[in-house]
């Protein structure tokens, strides 16, 4: 497990959430000129967690890789052919997590009717917390995260897609980074959908900034954000076939022929795995 992140010399302390009322939340009003001195008390809470939770020993095995170069069936004379490594993603954690992580977790638990249905998994890794969210509850959850006085994740940094072909039944992941400027905390939401049904509710009604980010993720991964005001391609031309950031998207490359040998596109070359 990771060590808690310390923001420089600043001591970790647990925030007193109940002191904050809506009216006193720092972001509700603009700071007049001349009063913009950095607040000495402001600490990066998102980087400060106390002792991380004891997690179960079970990590999430995504795949097992053999050999060194990803070669099969040929004579791998390198001696690395017997190598076998399983790819394990960080294990889910169980509460208590420590620090403000618990207050966020508990508050979300109070707001949603059935916790385990909404948050399928919580992963704490390298001092960052990731909530894995069931897709049908995403819209209600983000609305709570933004509006609740004890959560106040009023800023969405963006949406990032990731394609895990080995994660059967949940190949496409959409990752949201949310920032609470009021409490200076950062969390990550991760929603996964199967390739066969790549539909996800849009968070644009809650975070208008996600508009272009969702379009980009649709463009690159083919995740369809239902309820998006105009889900069209962002980077690629409107008539482009396919979604280039998917791992199975064929890389053109130019198979150069040299004395009968061809150079394959990058994803088909022999490489360290």
């Amino acid at each position: 497990m990771s060590e808690p992140r310390q923001g420089g010399a600043m001591p970790p302390s647990s925030p007193d959430l109940h002191k904050e009322s809506d009216a006193e939340a720092p972001v509700t009003g603009a700071v007049p000129e001349g009063e913009s001195q950095p607040d000495a008390e402001t600490r990066p809470e998102s980087l400060v967690g106390s002792d991380p939770a004891v997690s179960s020993d079970e990590t999430e095995v995504i795949e097992v890789r053999r050999g060194m170069f990803g070669v099969r069936g040929t004579g791998d004379t390198s001696g690395y052919g017997g190598l076998s490594r399983s790819i394990e993603f960080p294990a889910p954690s169980a509460p208590p997590f420590g620090g403000w992580w618990d207050s966020v977790y508990d508050r979300v638990g109070e707001l949603v009717p059935s916790y385990s249905d909404v948050i399928t998994k919580v992963v704490i890794h390298r001092g960052e917390i990731t909530f894995h969210v069931a897709r049908q509850h995403l819209t209600t959850l983000v609305r709570h995260l933004r509006d609740d006085a004890q959560l106040r994740f009023e800023f969405c940094s963006g949406v990032s897609g990731v394609h895990y072909p080995a994660d059967r039944g949940a190949e496409l992941h959409a990752v949201y980074h949310l920032q609470s400027m009021t409490y200076n905390r950062r969390i990550r939401l991760e929603v996964s959908v199967p390739e066969s049904d790549p539909h996800l509710p849009s968070v644009v009604p809650t975070y208008p900034t996600a508009d272009w980010h969702e379009r980009e993720t649709f463009d690159m991964f083919g995740i369809v954000f239902d309820g998006h005001p105009a889900l069209t391609r962002m980077m690629m031309p409107d008539d482009w076939p396919g979604h280039p950031q998917r791992k199975d998207y064929p890389l053109g490359g130019i198979p150069v022929e040299y004395k009968g040998a061809t150079i394959a596109p990058p994803d088909q070359r022999r490489s360290y795995n």
Binding site: R5, G29, V31, F89, R126, E128, N184, D239
Partner: protein, 482 residues
């Protein structure tokens, strides 16, 4: 401006002669599109031109005839396609402006003209080589791209505590110099677009001084690939600190010129004050960060709020303004350059005490093996290192070969370590599957996100204010399109 379409007129037939063969081609496409099947089989085929109404193709010099023709039609509502090749759109940004006379009623941005697939390319290079790609995204602040990516990789490697102090100080110094050079370009080009040509010429003069310092330290003016996972690529050359000290003196002497030219200039203020209005609620909803956010008076700066690279140990102030307009953003950038100079001076005095200190993590499984020497023809080989691996130690040679060709493995997981770039929150979402290459690297670029605020800032204003509003956001298309 490449074309103007009058959306009310019904006819599509009147193609100007200038288009010639293009028109013929688009007619051919048009007949293709009439048969839906044909379009379905041709992956690259396009439907007929979507433009409705009368189309003018403007190549300059012919404004009178176009204005006369449009006046004859008696229709004030036109759609202007501004860009992607237009000097006032900061690169290949395409603005689609629907106008009633000279007022913009609707504004939309079209992007993607500079998409180069950097994120995809990074998935087929080693973790260290990834720096070489991401530095090319936002080409006015390359060191910030490198920094956020390297910080993310270091968090995944769990070596954040092992980064040598000297590496962090060099990073801070380079980033702050880069912030000044980026703000200079913003002010320079923004000034040029409203006719303040001297601001442009002096802006690029000062920027060139900073790029000289970059060239001395990294070997390149741009696209440095200098900040790498684990530290920086190479130590400072002997005369670097002296050079930077002279640079600071130069900047202190010349920065007041910008204030003298612009701050109280009635034309400058007339063009900027009250233009591109965006309040705090709008900024938060649209994810706008950087100077536009700070121009609402909110002192949100990641260097203070979530310090990285030891920023909490430097003495500087976050600059804010309370006018929420383009003028406030200009003043913030001007003030931030002074703050950056303060930080650079502190870095220089720290680096004087750190001569000979390491600039890379001690872990030889991560640290690039060679300290490249700067020769008469730029960055070159490390002779000591070559002597060692070629003449003295077979194991060192093997290690060198493995680290350079294969690279290091990064434990599976994901990390997001944003930094405060000149334009706002720049973050790399770095995902590893335990391999020697990034599984996914996604950059949350502030230019991309801030550009979404364009419609709300421009609609209802004059077309000339659009140019100022875009300049006040300072989008860099290399970062927007990646």
């Amino acid at each position: 401006m490449s074309s103007i379409a009058d959306t009310h007129s019904a006819t599509d037939a009147a193609e100007p002669d200038a288009r010639g063969s293009d028109a013929a081609e688009s007619n051919a496409r048009g007949s293709d599109a009439a048969q839906p099947d044909a379009r379905g089989t041709d992956a690259y085929g396009v439907a007929a031109d979507a433009a409705e109404g009368h189309v003018y193709t403007v190549t300059g010099q012919d404004w009178d005839s176009i204005a006369a023709e449009q006046a004859e039609r008696g229709d004030e509502r036109i759609v202007v396609n501004m860009g992607p090749q237009h000097p006032s759109t900061h690169g290949v940004l395409r603005l689609i402006l629907e106008m009633e006379g000279e007022s913009v009623t609707e504004a939309r941005a079209g992007i993607g003209y500079l998409h180069t697939g950097i994120e995809k390319n990074m998935e087929y290079r080693s973790w260290t080589q990834g720096v070489t790609f991401c530095t090319r995204m936002d080409y006015l602040s390359p060191l910030f791209n490198e920094a956020t990516y390297s910080l993310g990789v270091e968090r995944l490697l769990d070596i954040e505590d092992q980064i040598p102090e000297k590496a962090s100080v060099i990073r801070v110094m380079m980033m702050e110099l880069n912030r000044i050079s980026s703000h200079l370009v913003c002010i320079a080009t923004g000034g040029m677009e409203i006719g303040a040509l001297t601001v442009m010429t002096i802006g690029f003069r000062e920027r060139e001084k900073i790029l000289d310092a970059f060239e001395l330290i990294t070997g390149l003016r741009m696209n440095h690939a200098y900040i790498r996972p684990g530290g920086v690529a190479q130590d400072l050359p002997d005369n670097a600190l002296e050079h930077v000290r002279d640079l600071v003196v130069w900047m202190r002497k010349h920065l007041p010129e910008y204030a003298a030219f612009s701050n109280e200039n009635p034309i400058f203020k007339g063009r900027l004050v009250g233009v591109g209005h965006l309040d705090l609620a709008g900024c938060l909803a649209l994810g706008v960060t950087g100077p536009p956010l700070r121009s609402t008076g909110y002192d949100w700066d990641l260097r203070k709020k979530q310090p990285y690279c030891g920023y909490e140990t430097y003495d500087f102030d976050v600059q804010t303004w309370d006018s929420m307009d383009a003028y406030g953003r200009f003043r913030i950038r001007l003030n931030e350059m002074w703050e950056s100079l303060k930080i650079v001076e502190q870095c220089v005095s720290r680096l004087e005490k750190l001569k000979g200190a390491p600039i890379m993590v001690a872990d030889k499984k991560i640290a690039w093996p060679a300290q490249l020497a700067i020769g008469s023809d730029g960055m070159g080989n490390s002779h000591e290192h070559i002597k060692h691996i070629m003449g003295e130690s077979m194991e060192s040679l093997i290690h060198h070969f493995k680290l350079v060709t294969e690279g290091f493995r990064v434990p599976p997981g994901q990390a997001y370590v944003p930094v405060e770039s000149p334009r706002g929150e720049l973050g790399a979402h770095v995902v590893s599957d335990g391999g020697t290459r990034p599984f996914r690297a996604h950059f949350r670029d502030p230019s991309f996100t801030n550009l979404q605020a364009l419609p709300v800032m421009c609609e209802g204003s004059m077309v000339s204010d659009v140019v100022v509003a875009v300049a006040s956001l300072d989008p860099v298309m290399g970062g927007v399109d990646r």
